[in-house]
Symmetry: D2
Subunit: 401 residues, 4 copies
């Protein structure tokens, strides 16, 4: 019986193909099977150049090929960061027309203004297991136990990793549930895996020491891939802030508008509009830039959810405006995950941040700062465009009157 | 002077390459330039099979190539939807190891249980321009004017589009800012462009009729690509709910755990943990599935931010559990955006939803329901896995005791 | 056996005293009993002048007396509302020193500026029962049933009340839970009781018609006495907006500061600070004014939670600033609840809004607008004070430099 | 010219009356003036027994009298707290009929179950001034400066108070704004005044040391009197958790319902309903109890906004249910504010927590725990009542079938 027939009658599972075939053949056969089952012609999905061996082991089960996501560049953008310093070309993987052109204009304005100020404010990846206790008294005593055994837990956590360092433990109670939020310095890795493994070890110690039952290694107070106030307040991943001062002259020349108009767009849209909408995002389109940079650079695309939490501010100053973006929870890394896939790694290389930095952690921090500057470019450009239209309309209205 | 030299000395802009070269050459030259500038070797980014002509016009400026994102399949999953009915193989583009295997197990459980119940609750893409007024009295009168001119505004909006229908207008005031949220039936398109164009037309009418100043076509009460309560409450894009009943026997057989344990994980993690974290996401990892399906299917990846807003519920029933996911704001389409790129379109074809449906709108609604079912599979699988470990530990602890 | 002994040995319950004694004696005996049990001397609690007969039936069980909350006045404040027009003295019941003085200064500034612009944007009290269904399909069909039976439900709802009118029904699904949010015009009553009785009637019809199980008459999507985005977005109670234009000259004279400083305080504190804190309150201290007015005027003090949800905005204008407050969910009434207690009713009379208005509803709407203006006075005053200190410090720093 | 005439013609300001008259006369004359101005008869407001001398200095400007708020008692409730231990009668000041009866039933159930478990999880009052900086680099360096000068700032802060201790400093950046959140152990005081004075001193040091401009002593990251995630996550005031285990037998006897029904009400209403509403309050009616206890006990009523933030949980256990309430930010004190007014102080005495505790802080912590238990009683009772109706209806429906 052919393999396709065995797949069809269920005697061979789709995910078992790699057991009998080389990865490349397994992918091909699986694709053929799916094509037959669905009647879809799957030509292009099968065309790829990346090294499949590692991908099927690490990144993707039941693989049938790849999707090709267009990558363009914006830049150069001058960055005056604590870690990233110099001029950068930003790789953006996107299908949204006009996005790269917009970021490009923001890069140009920033560079003309002397570069983006960027700082990493905090750095720490988190995992927060949840435990069940018998009573609020038990819950309270678990918190105390954790505090008292801090050093022991730190030692245990760090025994599971050659790179990671435990940098904080915080406890939270909700009724009989106890959430213990561990924070790690994960160096150049985004670090979720490292942190999860370490948390598992520590969680077992806590359960054994307190009689609390471990319910889940993630109790949603991490918080991973969901918008959450805790990430904004305590930070998660790389916390980055980026800003730039624009003079009246530059605003007029590059954006064809003025300081007051940009300020008003930010005020009524990003601040008041977001407040009125019950939004956790006080920005124009940070998600566009974060998602595009994440996909290009082999980051976990689902991390764009927490990564794009952003407050955009526009201060009126004596010489013009100071525009800034605050990104408290960018989960990024330059090793592990999708960063090793060839096309994605080329994007990291293009930024000079592929692989481990010297010392460890510097590449990921650079990447965090670069993405912060990229978001600034995107915000600036869209605010400028909206303000210019708004100004144009105002003139038009005056002309009419 | 060579083109590369002209790029280098700034006499030719990077985005002007398409004016002098064919798209394919422009991409190649641009990539070479970036490679030289950054010292990075960009081999794989330049290998692609998609039709570039359209992509450079519609999807991506300053293109240098593509990233290849691995695509695997999970399934088949049986879906009993209002629009999607039958068995589906789900294409997921991801670099997160174990994700597809996890979704696959969820699909298997759902299919064994007879399929996922899915319903589209609401369908409407929105845009909310913001206007500045002189006073709260003026603001209030703008709202009244909009209400009184509803039919006129609807006619104007629909004059800009051959497909879209205006289905609702809501006004919001915050001080002197007025937000007018337009909702459209955009048929098979995700529809942001259509809606923006229509909103621009209507916004001009409102400005002219009321003397309010249009500040921005998006006032962040749309709300696009930011987590926002308004999307949950009023719906945005395709609002989908999916659920499945699992018997005690099935839970035990597929997940090696029991109803109570799955219920407890959901309760302490997804509900209480999220509440305690100040999170807008009451789910385990909806974002993983939404992002992977969006990238595979040519959706706007930044829309995973709003698209992944999800409440996961687990009801204890007499026969086992009923697990459900509620996704109030999935912005998806099967025409436009990245849906026409060959690899992405093949993923849509694999689902039987590429292009316009008959009647228009049915393909996008199907896609919304399929993604709803896929999220259900992902949630179910992760909850089951967490519960099984939790149960295993409980047994172990008892064994020790 | 004496009554106190019977209370002591449990043969008489504390709440049964009114069965054997007149209200005034029951209160006295109960207070004596509590004094003996706790060893506390309860002299002043027993001194009151209000009519106890009604209070023990309607407002307070197990009564032992009253607390005396100091009441002061701020004003007069000129109000140019849709309902409230003229000059008002605001009664504020508070123990927070400096609050009334602060509001008073705000009233003075507003009056000097020609009065507060105020408008009622929406008016409707809500109740949202929650139903359990068997599946998401059942849930979806319950929503459809409700939509189809709108007129029948409206008739049933209105049969339970002589005043209330059903003005809206909205359905929400979360998994198998269905929330049906009823909105009523409750005229001069705050209306929770009226609305709850009407909702009970309609909820039974829905349960009978659809087979859904009614779980609770309030499913927390009302949302009553909790901060909730839904109230901001859909409105609840009286939705009010109030604003005032202040000239540079007035700002300087009354507040000893300037437009830019007030604007900056609002920007960095009320907008950006609140966003950064994950707050639902974008204001300085609206709660102070709302709570003080509510307690003075016999409103339900717990309603200050939803009532104080407020966005404060400061626009820079050519002539100075325009300051506004937006209060989307003020649950207030002038009949029922504590409004009939003599001291509280005197406060309502002082505002000219005691009892039913002509036509019904106008008194409560006036009260809503007055509270809106009072909040504006409080915000303005605190912003002005903060800005003045800030300006003073700035001058001091310059002086030093 | 009479005083009334001078008030009328503006030559004497209403707030100047105390300069010419004794407090008691000033209040009377002011009330007469207001009565004449408004045409309202203000008889009862003028009847009070509290000591006016202190009130007019500390609690209330422009006083015209008091409102009498009915006070009833619920209890006794047995409390097994870390600080409060024993049986308590709860004083509740309210005008909402049925509230005290409901809390009373909850107290009875709790006491029958052996008492409420209560623990104080955290204790610290906060103030967070906001500073403006020139750039994000400046902002970042201000944070570093604060960290480096921790001891110096602590010394300065504590020099302003004889009781308070600085227990924490946290810095937050949003663009160019820096928020420095100071936390203090304020012993038996609620502590806002103490903390504000200390923060002012420290804020001046920070401004002088860094060149940052102090914009406002409260930057809304405190967060005071607004619902805010930061208070839940970091705690503010007294963080309290209270719980109780109820057996099946007790549930049946006291509440005429069963464990499953109570659990279902909490699940669909307090957890899922609140999530769906975008609410920050995951409880049934905590605000009712917090507001009523606050008003009775001389707490700042506007603090009910932050104080009532509460998550109510119901765990299914082998023997019945465990119900708990988590209140992360109860701002309460037993000295200062309105606690010294006679009627309010009698309520504190009734609880045995008036004035300073031995050692300092214990009275306020007791009060925090007592309010936690009171909220538990209120939640339990309402959940029980809803569940009983729900069960009754279920039986009825079965009967019909």
């Amino acid at each position: 019986m052919t393999i396709l027939n065995r797949l069809r009658d269920g005697s061979l599972k789709l995910y078992e193909l790699e057991k009998e075939l080389s990865p490349i053949d397994a992918i091909r056969v699986r694709r053929e099977f799916i094509a037959q089952e669905t009647g879809a012609v799957l030509e292009n999905i099968g065309i790829f150049s990346i090294d499949i061996e590692r991908v099927v082991r690490r990144n993707c089960e039941n693989m049938i090929g790849t999707v090709q996501v267009p990558v363009g560049v914006a830049g150069p953008i001058r960055i005056n960061g604590g870690h990233a310093q110099g001029s950068y070309w930003l790789p953006l993987a996107t299908t949204e027309g006009a996005l790269i052109a917009s970021v490009n204009r923001g890069c140009s304005a920033i560079t003309k203004a002397g570069g983006a100020d960027v700082r990493l404010l905090h750095d720490g990846m988190t995992r927060a297991p949840v435990f069940a206790t018998d009573s609020v008294i038990h819950a309270s005593s678990v918190c105390n136990w954790v505090t008292e055994h801090h050093d022991e837990l730190k030692t245990a956590a760090e025994s599971t990793t050659s790179h990671g360092k435990l940098t904080g433990i915080a406890t939270f109670v909700a009724g009989t549930s106890v959430y213990v939020r561990f924070e790690f310095d994960t160096k150049d890795a985004m670090g979720m895996n490292m942190v999860t493994i370490a948390s598992a070890k520590v969680a077992d110690l806590i359960a054994a020491g307190t009689g609390a039952r471990l319910i889940a290694l993630s109790g949603n107070m991490c918080t991973d891939k969901k918008p959450a106030a805790i990430n904004g307040i305590m930070g998660r991943g790389r916390s980055v802030v980026a800003g730039v001062a624009l003079t009246h002259e530059l605003i007029s020349r590059v954006f064809k508008t003025d300081a007051t108009s940009i300020h008003e767009v930010n005020y009524r849209k990003n601040l008041v509009g977001s407040a009125r909408a019950g939004s956790m995002g006080f920005n124009a389109h940070a998600a566009n830039v974060v998602a595009a940079m994440f996909i290009a650079c082999g980051q976990d695309a689902a991390h764009a959810i927490d990564g794009s939490t952003c407050i955009t501010t526009v201060d009126l100053t004596e010489t013009g405006i100071y525009v800034a973006v605050t990104l408290p929870s960018l989960p990024v890394g330059t090793v592990g995950g999708g960063t090793g896939i060839e096309t994605q790694q080329e994007c990291l290389k293009l930024l000079g941040v592929a692989g481990s930095g010297t010392p460890p952690g510097t590449n990921a921090r650079k990447l965090g700062e670069i993405i912060g500057a990229a978001v600034l470019a995107g915000e600036l450009s869209l605010l400028g465009a909206l303000a210019a239209q708004h100004l144009a309309r105002a003139h038009q209205q005056l002309g009419r009157g």
